[in-house]
């Protein structure tokens, strides 16, 4: 998939228009997982806008996003960065071999206190 197709796909999945962003940074101000990601919510928006999508797809940060939607809630321009992040995760899943979670990972992360559903739903979410 070419980069412009990729940008269009992200736009279609997320329904987000990154051009509405006025670069105020409130999303990154609100983000509780800010320090866990190498790219931050405001960067997500500008990277999608400038077409740096591959970089985003290969970033671990998209999986440390908590999907708490604080950025969506706080954004004064209704840009909705969390939806972009979700769209990038979906784009990864659509790509061959980019599953974030593989069956063989599971034994290692199994934890007695972890509800079984959490593993099952994470597996559903992060794998084709």
């Amino acid at each position: 998939m070419s980069n412009s197709d990729l940008m269009e796909t992200i736009g279609r999945i997320s329904g987000v228009n990154p051009r509405k962003c006025m670069k105020c940074g409130k999303c990154s101000g609100a983000c509780p997982a800010y320090d866990e990601m190498e790219f931050h919510p405001h960067q997500f928006v500008s990277m999608v806008e400038s077409g740096r999508i591959d970089e985003l797809m290969n970033s671990r940060g998209i999986y440390t996003c908590l999907s708490c939607f604080a950025c969506v809630e706080r954004c004064p321009r209704s840009v909705e960065p969390a939806k972009l992040i979700e769209a990038v995760r979906c784009a990864c899943l659509r790509r061959q071999g980019m599953d974030h979670m593989k069956p063989e990972h599971i034994p290692a992360i199994l934890d007695e206190d972890l509800p079984q559903q959490a593993v099952t739903s994470a597996f559903r979410k992060y794998r084709k």
Binding site: K23, G25, S28, A30, Y34, H42
Partner: protein
Amino acid sequence: MQRIGVFVCWCGSNIAATVDVEKVSEVLGHEPGVVFSTNYQYMCSQTGQDMIQSAIRDYKLTGVVICSCSPRMHETTFRRACEKAGLNPYLVEIANIREQCSWIHKDKAVGTEKAIILGRAAIAKVQLNRPLTAGESPVTKRALVIGGGIAGIQTALDIADAGFPVDIVEKKPTIGGKMTQLDKTFPTLDCAACILTPKMVEAAQNENIHIYSYSEVEAVKGFVGNFRVTIRKKARYVKEDVCTGCGLCTEKCPQKKVPNEFNLGLDTRRAIYIPFAQAVPKVATIDADYCRMLKEGKCGVCSKVCTAGAIDYKQKDELIEEAYGAIVVATGYNPIKLDKFDEFAYSQSPDVVSSLEFERLMNAAGPTGGVLLRPSDHTHPKTLVFVQCVGSRCDSEEKGKPYCSKICCMYTAKHAMLCREKYPDTEVYVFYIDVRTPGKNFDEFYRRAVEEYGVHYIKGMVGKVVPENGKLKVQASDLLDNRQLHIDADMVVLAAAIEPDESARPLATMLTASMDTNNFFTEAHPKLRPVESPTAGIFLSGACQGPKDIPETVAQAGAAASKAIGLLCKDHLTCNPCVAEPDELMCNGCSSCEKVCPYGAITYADKEFRGPNRTTLIRRVAQVNPAVCQGCGACTVACPSGAMDLKGFSNKQIMAEVDAICR
């Protein structure tokens, strides 16, 4: 029989290049009623006008058709020229053969043919033109200024200086508006009270100015030059002319727990109060919502202590009707409510304040006597965080406003600077999206805050504020450093967006003045007529038209005053004679026309008519006020009987044009 003259203009080569002007004047010369037809290089030139004028005299013309540029260009020129030669100016019609013919067609045959048809249409119309005389209506030489803030005061002073009486209607007990609540003003840092209060006093003392304080506009009737306005003077339960403003009652009143709106509720006042020491008029007002005497019928302390005998618990609202020639709207602005911005903990912590509240906390006449103290524990704050654009530039309608509030960047820089100047031991952070400082000495001012006063300007936005153990945990982004900041602040100051006063919308309806979706009054032209409303006789002063700082407001106030003065200087106004006209014999009196008239120009009268067999019938028939009617023609189509027609654009005239074009 009509005697029509046709004048075809070449407009140099503008018309002549694609229209055979010779042929046009030749063909149109043979149209019925045409007795003279010619063409000339520049009809609008003095020579051209002379040609028209001598033809009017020589051929005793009863109508003139000029085939030239758009009537929007030279209709007035040609009408004036004909008037000078003794022809009624409304017997002139223009055929637009430049903008709507020669300039859009390349083929000369096509252009010529179309020019002839357009000329024929104009001839057909002019056959039916009637001489019209512009009516006149007198101008009441008195102005009304609605709103007594700096905008209203300045406008009133300027109009009064020109020698015209002017009334100010202010809904609060005192004039002065928002500016009275400010501490210092940017970019010069002079004290707001020091520059405003002399103007307030001047307004009160000016013989030409009458102040209706604690009053509101109740109804507006009439039209430019002849407005009739009903003013509701609200009962203040104190005789304004008797009260000396000594303030004894405001000290003795036992009801002490009234939130003081002048200090934005940061402290309390009594039920009888004078908003602040320099109030104009300096008279007490009883707050009926809190006064025990008015609510329960017992107390009466103020009446007992008042040596002047000014208290009157039986006072009622008073309605005053006054006539005005011009109305200036100066209803100003308010900061928006911040309760939708939970992320900044505004409603959770008293130490999160709005900028206007901060202004009161810094003001020597404020609740803390000018000492910056935290509202929660009255300690001196060490770390302050200012957040800009709270509610401005906001996409969501229910939370904020889509526009830039314009003044926040500058007053925040002012706050930060004053804070650092008074308390050098403080750390001051300003979070900004953009710093917008266009204005004389504005950017220099902001740079001084950064460079000389060491204010930390951070490009980024506060994401959340959490009150915790007496501190305010501020989490924010620093976009240039690409990191998230966590600041333990003592105070957070929010630069709230500003919005038009809530009285503006109902007022606009009364005035039939137009407004934009944000409830700001619309100007007649955004560039060329910025202080006039599209509704004639209504002028705009200050922030009611859009966000503005003080210098801009004062400039606009002066401009609005000069426009109002220009109107009041006239003894009579000339009305557009192309107005609706009912044929009473055909009128059904059904009110259809009245229902669609945007100006309220149509009223009804019962008139006697001759019925069959020598009887008389009384019928309700429409009457048009030609001074109010603007000539849109909505009524002419609403009228089922065709009784309503429009002068200058009558049914028959338009149909004659249709026929000429289609034939």
